[in-house]
């Protein structure tokens, strides 16, 4: 078990290093440079040189990458161009908003999706199962920002049941929760369908396996078999999918934060692009990549703990 975890963590570290290097290289290969982006085309040569030196852009590429990693390990991602505050502080200040949004979406969609998938698997081919199937497929791929816009239009602008803007007063839990409902609904909707279908498929698969048949032969009650044995294994793919889906959730959060004017990583990136605040853009992208890699790694490790087959099947 420990070997598996260590190996998985090693792989995660390797992927992170490669991803950061790749990000760095792509930025250097594509036309356009951060200095012109930040200063505009009319900047004087002295000003350009000074900024280049401050950002380390005057050094050779391998040195730049090395410096970048060294600084990253110390938690230094450079300075905000305008306020001169450390990028790390700014990004870390926004991450909780995005994480709360994403985690609440996962939570409600997983609870509903697992229940729906369980129902479909137990009542296979019933009218309810078919209806759930069509509905699931229909909501799965509808872009989250379209759901965001429609729910903003219906529930915030027309019906005025929920606030349209912001994340609520800091410290006022009820108010913050009220502001969270619509965005969380918008991001989670497609996941309900997805998780429901996944749980249904894997439950049907598990129900046909040997250990379930044995349990049945021993005369264990059907209910016990369904929830104690089948569901436990059927949830495994869901854990993986949520881990891998973190990338989609982070992407969906960008749109939802813009639509509902909520603070968070996405809003920070868009605002920083508009104001050409280049270091903040890169810092946010870097942090979101780290969150993504960490969540896929975590999902794999949880899976290994829950399912002895993964550990043994190496």
């Amino acid at each position: 078990m420990l070997t598996y975890i260590l190996r998985r963590l090693g792989l995660a570290a390797l992927i992170t290093i490669l991803a950061v290097t790749l990000l760095f290289l792509i930025i250097h290969m594509i036309p356009g440079d951060p200095v012109s982006t930040m200063l505009g085309p009319k900047a004087s040569p002295e000003l350009r040189a000074a900024l280049e030196a401050r950002m380390g852009l005057d050094k050779p590429l391998p040195v730049q990458i090395g410096l970048f990693f060294a600084n990253m390990l110390r938690g230094d991602l450079g300075m905000d161009v305008f306020t001169n505050r450390p990028v790390t502080t700014i990004v870390l200040g926004q991450i909780p908003y995005t994480l709360v949004l994403i985690l609440s979406s996962i939570l409600w969609s997983a609870v509903l999706g697992i229940a729906l998938g369980c129902y479909s698997a137990v009542n296979r081919n019933s009218l309810g199962d078919r209806l759930a199937g069509v509905l699931s497929v229909s909501v799965i791929a509808v872009p989250a920002f379209v759901v965001s816009l429609y729910s903003l239009l219906i529930f915030a602008v027309k019906l005025q049941w929920f606030p349209a803007i912001g994340a609520g007063e800091p410290g006022a839990w009820g108010d913050q929760f009220h502001h969270l409902i619509l965005p969380s609904l918008a991001i989670g909707l497609s996941w309900v369908g997805y998780i429901a279908r996944l749980v249904r498929a894997s439950m049907l698969e598990v129900m046909g396996e040997g250990h379930v048949r044995t349990a049945r032969a021993f005369g264990l009650p059907e209910r016990w078999i369904t929830y104690r044995y089948a569901l436990r294994l059927a949830i495994l793919p869901t854990v993986t999918v949520i881990g891998v889906g973190m990338g989609f959730l982070l992407s969906a959060a960008v749109f939802t934060e813009i639509v509902f004017s909520r603070p968070g990583l996405g809003k920070l990136v868009i605002d920083s692009i508009t104001t050409r605040n280049y270091p903040v853009v890169m810092g946010s992208v870097l942090f979101s990549t780290l969150i993504f890699v960490a969540s896929t790694t975590l999902a794999d490790i949880i899976n290994a703990i829950l399912d002895p087959r993964i550990r043994a099947g190496k």
């Binding site: 872009p143 816009l149 498929a201 896929t296």
Partner: protein, 294 residues
């Protein structure tokens, strides 16, 4: 003695067979109709659209749906219905090259990984994992921040982040086909690697790839619209569905029609291609049933 005529089922071509099964599945048929309608109206946009999608008409601004403007007009009086139809062209213009590129690179890398030596396989899988480790939208925004928003930027970014999806499927299929007995037989008869790749492996991976592509189109179209909505993709006045939604968002308290009109084609595209993809998957490979991709 009378002649007994034996009626044999008419032999269908492979494509005919797929179509036959598709239209028998209600969802598959619905998907096919929606897809044909969307692609058809995008191709025929210059003839179908009642107005010029970028022509201003200030006196008629911000109208609701009426006989002259089926979906109303926007803040400078442009006809929303015409913009929706022309928006389909932008969506296809992004989706087709993006997916074609991702398939070509995915096929190439996937087949090399699946057939080649172990070290090369590990290297390519690591590359796939790395490319997948960027949240697509964040990665796109990082690139846009540098080169500025454009159609080509959107195509490039979505293509690069989609390659692993195709590559991994091709790799797995190649590995399993490689081990089948008929390949061993071919090899013992002296078949070359290019022959095995081209004649045996390629045709066998194309089916699943087509399914994957059909399911992937809504994702790509949605990403284009999303980036354009954020002002980081297609630039106004080009009529993209995302630009329409962005205009509608700015005017959400004046008129609901722009948002409604901009969202519907995206939802239809999603439904059409998803239904079609699911039905296609059941036809192409019944074993894959119920294992959708996200």
């Amino acid at each position: 003695m009378t002649d007994t005529a034996i009626v044999l089922p008419r032999a269908r071509s492979e494509l005919g067979e797929i179509l036959y099964h598709l239209v028998r599945d209600p969802l598959g048929l619905a998907g096919l109709i929606i897809v044909v309608a969307i692609v058809g109206s995008a191709l025929l946009a210059p003839w179908i659209a009642p107005y010029d999608p970028v022509a201003m008409n200030i006196p008629d601004r911000l109208q609701g749906p009426n006989a002259a403007h089926l979906l109303g007009t926007d803040q400078i009086g442009r006809d929303t219905f015409s913009r929706v139809i022309w928006g389909g062209r932008v969506a296809l213009k992004v989706a087709l090259p993006t997916i074609a590129g991702a398939i070509v690179f995915g096929l190439l890398l996937g087949m090399i990984a699946g057939y080649g030596p172990k070290w090369l396989d590990s290297l390519i899988v690591l590359l796939f994992d790395t490319l997948r480790s960027f949240p697509t939208v964040m990665f796109a925004l990082a690139v846009v921040a540098l080169v500025g928003p454009s159609l080509n930027t959107v195509i490039f970014v979505i293509m690069v982040t989609s390659i692993p999806t195709y590559g991994r499927v091709v790799r797995t299929l190649t590995q399993s086909i490689k081990q089948s007995e008929f390949i061993t037989a071919e090899l013992s008869l002296g078949a070359t690697v290019p022959r095995i790749m081209g004649i045996h492996i390629l045709p066998n991976v194309l089916g699943p790839l087509a399914v994957l592509a059909a399911m992937d189109i809504p994702t790509v179209v949605g990403l284009e619209a999303g980036l354009s909505f954020l002002g980081m993709g297609v630039k106004p006045p080009t009529p993209s569905w995302g630009v329409l939604l962005s205009d509608g968002y700015a005017l959400i308290r004046n008129t609901p029609w722009l948002i409604i009109a901009g969202g519907i084609p995206l939802i239809l595209t999603t439904l059409g291609f998803t239904f079609l993809g699911e039905a296609l998957r059941d036809v192409v490979d019944p074993k894959l049933r119920g294992k959708g991709g996200k």
